[in-house]
């Protein structure tokens, strides 16, 4: 899946030793890198193992093109929520309202497009606005009112769920106009000659590979220009090859079915965009700073209230996006939509390396965490495991991931 791109671009390159690496040096380098980024690699490896396990248990059904496509469609909204939730948690807060908010926005979208016949692009914009406003109201109480986020968003959770039922009068409302439906379960349009693959998806995948490779080479060049340590040449090439083939495999899988789902494209843009924001912008830095040490951030002149407020505005807008995707996929707004999604998003963030006390985590980590849960969901569905046991197993996965993290930190002694 194309989200893997950010894996390697956003992970800080382990600084290399001076001079070209010999065979022993290479091993040493990999060991160093592993130790340094234990959490990131650990989760990637865990995800790989879970995929392999379910691929084996389902006789390969998990990796059938149709199922991969499904997996993306089923989990996209949790991933969207997890991105926003990761930012909230890094800032040292929590948002319990997002599940209810997705339902509320879905209902709002249905009222606009189904009852009021407003054209769907306008409705999309209005929905995003409503989400942002909902986030802003909560953010205001948290940042400027000084009420703990747990309380404010717990209230929000109740309020938005209630408003959803009021808006829908307890009914399910649908179907959505066709354009709107595409957000949830549409695929990229097809063009060009008949191949066995989806042409546009293939092109997109290839373009992505070229982009990533060029970006990496440019980065390496700039690092050398500043006389900073870079990865030895052979390791750098290996890294490029691994990244390119990962993108290629996912592209081929998707292209041999109906092509890339539209929601995957949206998700890809979000992940790349938010990774960039969190890593490279002043705003992103300030989020890490207030979550890591609030008094120190204040004494450094960081406008902590404004940053907190904006983080919640953003969470609201992302919840709105997820809400539309859910409603569009079900092709109806339901009062029970998005139930417990806040918990899945929070679990994704923590599996993906967030810390209860804030200041730690990456957008990429949230995606990995979300995918771990997603593959567990999907794999267990294929195996006809009941939802009762699914919950038990997901709970254990959360406990194991965070337990491993705590154990690992204690071992390293940091």
């Amino acid at each position: 899946m194309s989200t893997d791109v950010t894996a390697t671009t956003s992970a800080p390159a382990p600084p290399g030793k001076d001079g070209p690496a010999s065979g022993g040096g290479l091993l040493q380098l990999m060991r160093d890198g592993l130790r340094r980024n234990m959490r990131q690699y650990g989760m990637l490896i865990a995800l790989g193992l879970i995929v392999a396990l379910f691929a084996w248990l389902t006789d390969g059904d998990l990796l059938l093109p149709r199922n991969v496509s499904n997996l993306v469609l089923q989990n996209s909204y949790i991933l969207v929520l997890a991105v926003g939730m990761m930012m909230v948690i890094i800032a040292g807060h929590i948002d319990l309202s997002v599940g209810s908010l997705t339902a509320f926005v879905g209902a709002f979208a249905a009222v606009l497009t189904v009852q009021q016949d407003i054209s769907w692009p306008v409705a999309v914009v209005l929905c995003l606005l409503v989400g942002a406003v909902a986030g802003a109201v909560q953010g205001f109480f948290i940042a400027y009112g000084g009420i703990p986020s747990f309380i404010v968003t717990l209230a929000g959770m109740l309020i938005f769920r209630g408003l959803t039922e009021i808006l829908l009068a307890g009914q399910t409302l649908g179907p959505f106009p066709e354009g709107m439906q595409k957000i949830g379960n549409g695929f990229m349009p097809e063009a060009g000659p008949e191949t066995n693959y989806h042409n546009i998806t293939l092109l997109l995948g290839i373009a992505l590979i070229v982009f990533v490779v060029l970006q990496e080479i440019r980065d390496r060049g700039r690092q050398q220009e500043f006389a900073l340590d870079v990865l030895p040449r052979n390791i750098f090439l290996l890294k490029l090859a691994v990244m390119a083939s990962a993108i290629l495999v996912v592209t081929l899988l998707l292209a041999s079915y109906k092509g890339a789902p539209i929601v995957l494209l949206i998700l890809g843009v979000l992940v790349v965009g938010y990774s960039y924001v969190m890593r490279n912008t002043v705003f992103g830095r300030h989020i890490y700073a207030i979550g890591g040490n609030l008094p120190a951030a204040k004494l450094s002149g960081v406008k902590d209230k404004k940053v907190t407020f904006l983080v919640f505005v953003n969470m609201g807008a992302l919840a709105a996006l997820a809400g539309m995707a859910i409603a569009a996929r079900l092709n109806a707004a339901s009062p029970k939509a998005g139930l417990n999604y806040e918990l899945e998003a929070i679990a994704s963030a923590f599996i993906g390396g967030a810390s209860m006390s804030g200041g730690v985590g990456t957008v990429f980590g949230a995606i990995i965490g979300g995918l771990v849960l997603g593959v567990l969901n999907n794999g267990m569905n294929l195996l006809d495991v009941g939802t009762d046991w699914q919950q038990v197993i997901k709970g254990l996965a959360l406990l194991a991931a965070v337990g491993f993290d705590v154990w690992n930190k204690r071992r390293v002694g940091s």
């Binding site: 900073l228 912008t281 002043v282 830095r285 890490y288 120190a296 004494l299 730690v360």
Partner: protein, 516 residues
């Protein structure tokens, strides 16, 4: 006089990298009030932690005899069972529990886990009377003042059948009236046969309640004096506290000559601050100070003198409640109500508490250094990571920060290197005025010298430096001019030539006298 109730012999306590106590001997007689005094960092609190079992037996060397028997306390509980109770500077009361609940916390009147409230309340009332409180035992601790809370701590100690009561700077957070009451109570307890050890650097208090005083300096016990003896004057105690050889070295410094006429880089006029919670207590009282470009100005004072409180309130009101005063930068009045304003006006405050207020310990060196001035390495809100890394690498070399790369989390660095990161961070912000609050606290001698060199360089570049410190030798070695503060007031101003350790200490220990 009675024989010794407590003997501590040749106590040595080492923390990683620092020898906090090297050979301390303390003898306390039965039924006396014994004061311990010394500069900040002399080892007073560490000694008391050794005595009370906070530092368990085996983590220090030396011998402790209490009532003639050797003591090997594994924890506080063990020492309390023997009747040794310590009351720390930070009170250990649970604010939302009642006085009675607090007094018997961990020591409840209970049968099989069920609390006997009648017995609890009756006993609590009796103990509260004993310390002179007539509040109802079901009052919440949060609803009484700090002075009374201190008395509740003593009541709690009494409930544990205390024989030796240790008070760590008990009046540091109290106003005059409450301090007086507390001191009276200590004398009252003495009549009831309770021995007390009181850590204090307020000499008038020591003279009022103590029978003898032991002076600690640099982790050693220097001498024990009889307070009632006529030759034990305040000056005598002071010379004991400061009389050390100048074992720190300082960079050669050409004293600054103030340019006449030019306005000071920073001038603070008539600044007053109230305590953030106790609204009756002035922590900074009508203080006026100034610093010129190229000048290093010291502010000397002991704990609670109001130096940090002054600096933090001026710097974006980050401590306490502002109650008047103006700031002038280069002769023009400025507003520093928010940190961002102060930074924009070219003022930097380097905190004394780098772990809580200075650094994001879980983040890397480069990100800590760039935080205050991210805009300098960013274009349109996007941080140029390469540029940032280059800047951080530059500081790593010039400040000699010992770390393999700038991607090391600062939490893993030693104290001295962390301090260098905090300094780098504020130097990178490019201020005209740097307020350095205890910049060498808790770091080793080698790193201290490096930091002195940096400070010297900053002044040579024309920056104005305010140097807050409790270590007199470093102020004398570095500063062009030194102010002294005590109990929130400015008590003196010395030129480099006039200043001596004795003269400064006299003004620093001045409690309620009028400014010269």
């Amino acid at each position: 006089m009675a024989g010794p109730v407590l003997e501590m012999r040749s106590i040595v306590k080492t923390f990683p990298g620092v020898k906090a106590l090297s050979d301390v001997t303390l003898t306390v007689r039965q039924g006396e009030v014994h004061a311990i005094c010394g500069e900040n960092g002399a080892g007073k609190s560490t000694l008391m932690k050794v005595l009370s079992g906070v530092h368990s037996h085996g983590s220090y060397e030396g011998e402790i005899l209490f009532e003639g028997e050797p003591c090997r306390f594994r924890n506080i509980r063990a020492s309390e069972q023997r009747g040794i109770v310590i009351i720390h500077q930070e009170l250990a009361l649970v604010p939302y529990l009642s006085l009675a609940e607090n007094i018997f916390l961990g020591n409840e009147h209970a049968r099989r886990g069920f609390i006997n409230w009648n017995e609890t309340l009756r006993h609590a009332t009796r103990l509260l009377r004993q310390v002179g409180l007539d509040d109802h035992p079901e009052t919440r601790v949060a609803d009484i003042g700090v002075g009374k809370q201190q008395l509740v701590e003593i009541a709690k100690a009494l409930s544990k059948k205390v024989k030796l009561l240790i008070l760590d700077e008990p009046t540091a957070a109290l106003n005059d009236e409450d301090s007086g009451k507390l001191l009276d109570l200590i004398l009252e307890l003495k009549k009831q046969g309770i021995t007390s050890i009181i850590i204090s650097h307020k000499l008038n208090e020591i003279r009022r309640v103590a029978d003898s005083v032991t002076i600690l300096r640099d982790g050693r016990s220097i001498e024990t004096l009889d307070v009632k003896a006529s030759e034990t004057t305040e000056d005598r105690i002071i010379s004991g506290m400061v009389g050390r050889d100048l074992d720190h070295r300082f960079p050669e410094r050409t004293p600054h000559r103030a340019e006449e006429g030019a306005a000071p880089a920073l001038e603070i006029r008539n600044w007053t601050v109230y305590h953030p919670i106790d609204r009756t207590r002035k922590v900074v009282d009508d203080v006026s100070v100034h610093v010129r470009r190229g000048e290093i100005v010291g502010i000397a004072g002991l704990m609670g003198a109001g130096r940090t409180e002054l600096a933090m309130n001026v710097f974006g009101r980050t401590y306490g409640r502002y109650a008047g005063g103006t700031v002038l930068k280069d002769g023009r009045e400025i507003q520093t109500r928010h940190v961002a304003d102060a930074v924009a006006h070219g003022i930097a405050y380097v905190t004394e508490d780098r772990k809580h207020y200075g650094l994001n310990l879980i983040d890397t060196i480069n990100r800590n250094i760039s935080l205050t001035a991210l805009d300098k390495v960013a274009k349109r809100g996007v941080v140029d990571e390469h540029e940032e890394r280059k800047v951080a690498e530059g500081f790593r070399r010039s400040m000699n920060i010992k770390a393999p790369t700038v991607f090391e989390p600062v939490g893993k660095l030693s104290g001295g290197n962390q301090q260098k990161v905090v300094l780098s961070k504020w130097i990178f912000a490019g201020p005209d005025v740097l307020i350095l609050d205890e910049p060498t606290r808790g770091i080793d001698v080698g790193a201290k010298y490096e930091i002195y060199t940096v400070i010297d360089q900053l002044a040579a570049e024309g920056k104005a430096v305010v140097f807050i410190s409790s270590e007199l030798p470093e102020l004398l070695g570095m500063c062009d001019r030194i102010y002294t503060m005590a109990a929130g007031r400015l008590t003196g101003e010395f030129s480099r030539a006039e200043a001596s350790q004795e003269a400064l200490m006299r003004q620093m220990t001045k409690d309620k006298e009028v400014t010269r």
